[in-house]
């Protein structure tokens, strides 16, 4: 049983880490602000989500698991609004720059 | 460690709660002032000033009565885990002096505010009071605090109260001066905190008693003390870190200048004194007989800086065109005297620092300068209020219109010059004697030269006051006598300090190990 859970965690956390790498690569390679923003917020959030899922079986209590889920929920919320805010500013700025 | 595990050093004494009141009463006033309408703020201030003055006097009486230091262990938690407050003779003298100057400043500020009834409930007038009370609370905490971190918080409280006072009038120049002051003060407190961090790392305690008994780790202690003293010097405006002081003290409203120059600047000096005497490993430590080389070095450096302050800033004061700037430069010069005390009061095996005449001289200089400088700034405030400016060249004959202020200025000047009868005379006389007998001729020469220069800049003003100008000087508005009287009372008090006997003063040694006990191996 533990072996199965551990394998699951390794898989989920590992692929989460890959998504973080992908987000950074996108940030380094993509040409313009908006696509960089897109790469970053999508990939990093997926990465965080996978890590949370991978860590859930290790939660010591229900409340600890709930808090983990809350972290991810907050990340969703913050990423969505933050990227919209940034995108909004970027659009306003573009004609000037 | 076994010595520490025995009977605790800090035991709450009978009047110990008074120390708590001295810190907390003004803090209560700050909170209350936020709640009441502006017109009642000054009333709270006066109620607390009366109570605080009484507390300070009772502390002094208690100390004289019992002949022992007052102590209070807060919440019953023994240091070094908990916090203690302690007042020895020097602390009690500081508490009393602070209470007197604060109360006088409060009266002066109130009389001054009454001149302009329309702004009496306005921003500057109302904000002044909580800031004054916070300064009082912070100063009392610095004088009786025994834990270096409590002292840090108190230093910051002092900064945050003093800086807004500087720019209370809201002009761009004063805000720039206040910002520069804030930068120096913050740098000073952070360096102090850094030193405290190192001391905690070495000793695992921050109360002064534990630190004074522990020895070892001397290089670390030197680094820590060096940082702390450097930080405090920036706050004390010793040459060459004095650049922020003249614009800040000269730009502040008169009552604020009096408090800043007389009291606020003394807090870091007092802390340096405690660090050098009590924390730096010295002859009083377990290694009796071996005087710590660092203490002598620190003393020499401080004395050189102090002497430079005296000479350079006295000359600068003489060259100023504006009265308040002149007084502010004079503050830096007079602070210099407090730093030449360090090599002079370096104790020996048989005579601890607090038994020397230089120690008494330094303490008297602290007190008499506070009284005299507050009086001078108030007199200058009255002059500026009467004529609408403080350009020295255009003040010819102001003594005819404001005789009381001119008299207060002259009497306060006696103390700065070191002429009898005045507290400054006794102080400088003791320092001079200590310098001559202790084999420091260059310090003796500095003291004499500083006195002459002070005579120069004080007589320049007195001469203006008595001059007969070509164009009759006309007061912009009449100045009530009571406003001038406050300055005169303080100046007279500075003169009165001059009547203490010319010898090591017993009160200042209260709460310190007895002189004779130190002879034992």
């Amino acid at each position: 049983m533990t072996g199965f859970v551990d394998a699951f965690t390794v898989l989920a956390v590992g692929s989460g880490a890959i998504f973080f790498l992908a987000g950074t690569l996108g940030l380094l390679r993509f040409p313009d602000t908006l696509s960089r923003l897109h790469a970053l917020s999508k990939a990093d959030n997926l990465g965080l989500g996978l890590i949370v899922i991978g860590l859930l079986p290790h939660a010591t209590s229900v409340s600890a698991g709930l808090k983990l889920a809350c972290v991810w929920l907050l990340a969703q919320l913050s990423a969505a609004t933050a990227s919209q805010l940034i995108a909004g500013v970027a659009r306003n700025r573009r004609p000037r720059a | 460690m076994s010595a520490l595990a025995n009977a605790p050093f800090y035991v709450t004494t009978s009047g110990g709660y008074l120390l708590v009141l001295a810190i907390i009463l003004p803090a209560v006033a700050v909170l209350a002032m936020l709640l009441v309408p502006p017109r009642h703020v000054a009333r709270i201030a006066f109620a607390v000033m009366a109570a605080g003055l009484a507390v300070a006097l009772v502390i002094v009486a208690e100390l004289v009565g019992t002949g022992m230091a007052l102590a209070y262990v807060v919440g019953g938690w023994q240091p070094p885990l908990g916090l203690a407050l302690r007042a020895d003779g020097l602390s009690a003298a500081m508490l009393a002096m602070t209470a007197v100057v604060i109360c006088a400043t409060g009266l002066f500020a109130r009389f001054h505010q009454c001149l302009e009834p329309e702004t009496q409930d306005g921003r500057a007038a109302t904000t002044f009071w909580p800031l004054l009370m916070a300064i009082w609370s912070a100063l009392n905490a610095i004088f009786v605090g025994e834990d270096l971190f409590t002292l840090y918080v108190a230093l910051e409280l002092l900064t945050f109260a003093a800086v807004p006072l500087v720019c209370l009038d809201g002009r761009a120049e004063t805000i720039a001066a206040a910002l520069r002051y804030l930068m120096f003060a913050l740098l000073g407190s952070l360096l102090y905190l850094l030193g405290a961090a190192l001391l905690y790392g070495v000793f695992g305690a921050l109360d002064i008693h534990s630190l004074s008994r522990l020895d070892g780790g001397a290089p670390a202690v030197t680094v820590a003390l060096g940082l702390m003293i450097a930080g405090l010097l920036a706050k004390a405006a010793l040459f060459p870190l004095h650049l922020w002081l003249p614009p800040a003290h000269a730009g502040a409203p008169a009552a604020a200048s009096a408090v800043l120059s007389a009291l606020v600047i003394k807090a870091p000096v007092f802390l340096i004194l405690r660090l050098v005497l009590d924390v730096a490993p010295s002859s009083a430590g377990p290694l009796a007989g071996q005087i710590f080389i660092g203490q002598i070095l620190i003393g020499q450096i401080l004395a050189v800086l102090g002497a430079s302050s005296i000479l350079f800033c006295s000359v600068m004061a003489f060259r100023q065109q504006r009265l308040k700037l002149m007084i502010a430069y004079s503050t830096v010069a007079q602070i210099g005297y407090l730093f030449i005390v360090f090599p002079l009061a370096a104790g020996t095996e048989t005579l601890p620092a607090w038994g020397t005449i230089a120690w008494t001289g330094g303490a008297l200089q602290l007190v008499s300068h506070a009284l005299a400088k507050a009086a001078m700034f108030m007199a200058a405030g009255a002059v500026a209020e009467a004529f609408g400016h403080d350009r020295i060249s255009d003040l010819g004959g102001f003594g005819r219109i404001l005789p009381i202020s001119a008299l207060a200025f002259g009497l306060a000047g006696l103390s700065l010059m070191g002429l009898p009868p005045s507290g400054g005379f006794i102080a400088k006389c003791l320092l001079l004697t200590a310098a001559v007998t202790g084999g420091h001729p260059w310090l003796a020469a500095t003291i004499l030269a500083g006195g002459l220069l002070a005579g120069g800049y004080v007589f320049r003003i007195v001469d203006r006051a008595l001059a007969t100008p070509a164009v009759e000087l006309v007061a912009r508005r009449p100045i009530p006598r009571r406003l001038e009287a406050v300055a005169l009372v303080l100046a007279l008090a500075a003169v009165g300090v001059g009547f203490v006997p010319l010898q090591p003063f017993g009160f200042l040694q209260l709460g310190r190990p007895a002189v004779s006990a130190m002879v034992a191996p």
Partner: protein, 115 residues
């Protein structure tokens, strides 16, 4: 001589370096805002040194000495108050004069400086 690989020592040294960087910014940088940020870096370095001391003092079932940890929390509060006051003063200075430095305005028309 304690080992550098010990996290307490490593972060302590990091704190020492931060103090240096913060101090340099505070002394050298002409802009007031940057100086205020420099003060915060300097403060962070000092707090890290406290943290290293606290970590070393682990014992009695605690992972660190709680006394310096509490001091850091108090210190952070005080540092924040200082930042807020400095920022408000800077903003007021800018509103009144249009500059954000303590340098006097450009030395134009100062008598005698032309020659």
């Amino acid at each position: 001589m304690s080992s550098i690989s010990n996290p307490a020592t490593l972060f302590g040294l990091c704190g020492a370096a931060l103090v240096g960087i913060g101090l340099f910014t505070v002394i050298v940088h002409p802009g007031l805002l940057r100086r205020i940020v420099g003060f915060n870096i300097l403060g962070a370095g000092i707090f890290l040194i406290f943290g290293a001391v606290a970590r070393r003092g682990a014992g009695a079932g605690f992972e660190g000495d709680p006394v310096p940890q509490a001091m850091v929390i108090t210190g952070i509060v005080v540092a924040f108050s200082a930042t807020a006051l400095a920022v408000a003063m800077l903003q007021r200075l800018f509103d009144l004069t249009g500059r954000a430095t303590l340098e006097p305005p450009a030395p134009e028309g100062r008598p005698g400086s032309e020659t």
